[in-house]
Symmetry: C2
Subunit: 144 residues, 2 copies
DNA sequence: AATAATATCTATAATATCTATAGACTTTAA
DNA sequence: TTAAAGTCTATAGATATTATAGATATTATT
């Protein structure tokens, strides 16, 4: 399961994708609109800023805004940043690989294969899911 | 990521699948062979027994053994039992559904779709992965 | 009947992680 | 100069995970 932190991040980013190129949005507004504890959101946005997904402007009239185009930020990147590995086993993770402590021998471990498949499919699906695509989807559904 | 508990469960079950219909295997042996803390393993096996995946025989000469055929126990069932939901979001889970607290309105939430896809693919792949299949795979690899 | 080997049950300790909050500080526009 | 923002450091509280201890019940064997 995704952590709350990660879900908050996704919601905040989709919110900012909706306001792309409309100037900085301040934390308070995002927090209220998305029902996210403000102080928690602060830490999250800061992390997204350090990862060059967001930019910020300090001082009066300041706030956060997307650094990249909404179609260039996908769920994979957000999840990795907030929660770490996508894979269900460390020995099968691309970005957070670690040998499985529980595995006696990775080479002959029959468990990994299924999880390799899951990882690949997950990457495929979530990397196609961008902020742009999510935001558009919400608008389409809203109209039905 | 799967919990250690879940990984221990999978390893123990694959071990028992290898010994299918060869009489009870005692906890101590599984713990040593798979490097699992014995007391922790006790709790895990008990849970698997309550879920009718394992059976046990008490007293001298007792131990644990598979209750069902190795081809009738898949990874989905084990993961659900040990770690809960397969899905990455509660609002997209079949067995552990809960409305997303973070979602303002599930009907118009554009985030769910991608995770629905991930859930379906994960279920598909992991339900095809049975103890029998894993054990066979290990033997095949071992021979190479 | 006694003994030893085993699973079962209850409790709890030790860690780790997640979620949330407080408060002082810095920057900027007006 | 002031008010409105983000930034930084610290920490509290809650929850979940991992591991262990010890007493009890059951069974095969002698």
């Amino acid at each position: 399961m995704l952590s709350k932190k990660c879900k908050y991040a996704i919601h905040a980013l989709v919110y900012l994708a909706d306001r792309y190129q409309q100037g900085p949005v301040h934390i308070q507004e995002i927090a209220e609109a998305q029902h996210i504890p403000k102080k928690f959101l602060e830490a999250i946005l800061l992390e997204l800023r350090n990862a060059k997904i967001l930019h910020s402007k300090k001082g009066k009239g300041g706030g956060y805004y997307l650094y990249r185009k909404p179609q260039e930020v996908n769920l994979i990147e957000i999840i990795r940043l907030m929660d770490g590995a996508i894979a269900m086993l460390p020995c099968v993770s691309l970005n957070y690989y670690e040998p499985c402590e529980e595995c006696l021998d990775e080479k002959t471990c029959g468990i990994r294969f299924a999880f390799l498949g899951v990882r690949d499919e997950t990457l495929r699906i979530l990397s196609e899911s961008t902020l742009d695509q999510i935001a558009k989807q919400e608008k389409t559904i809203g109209k039905r």
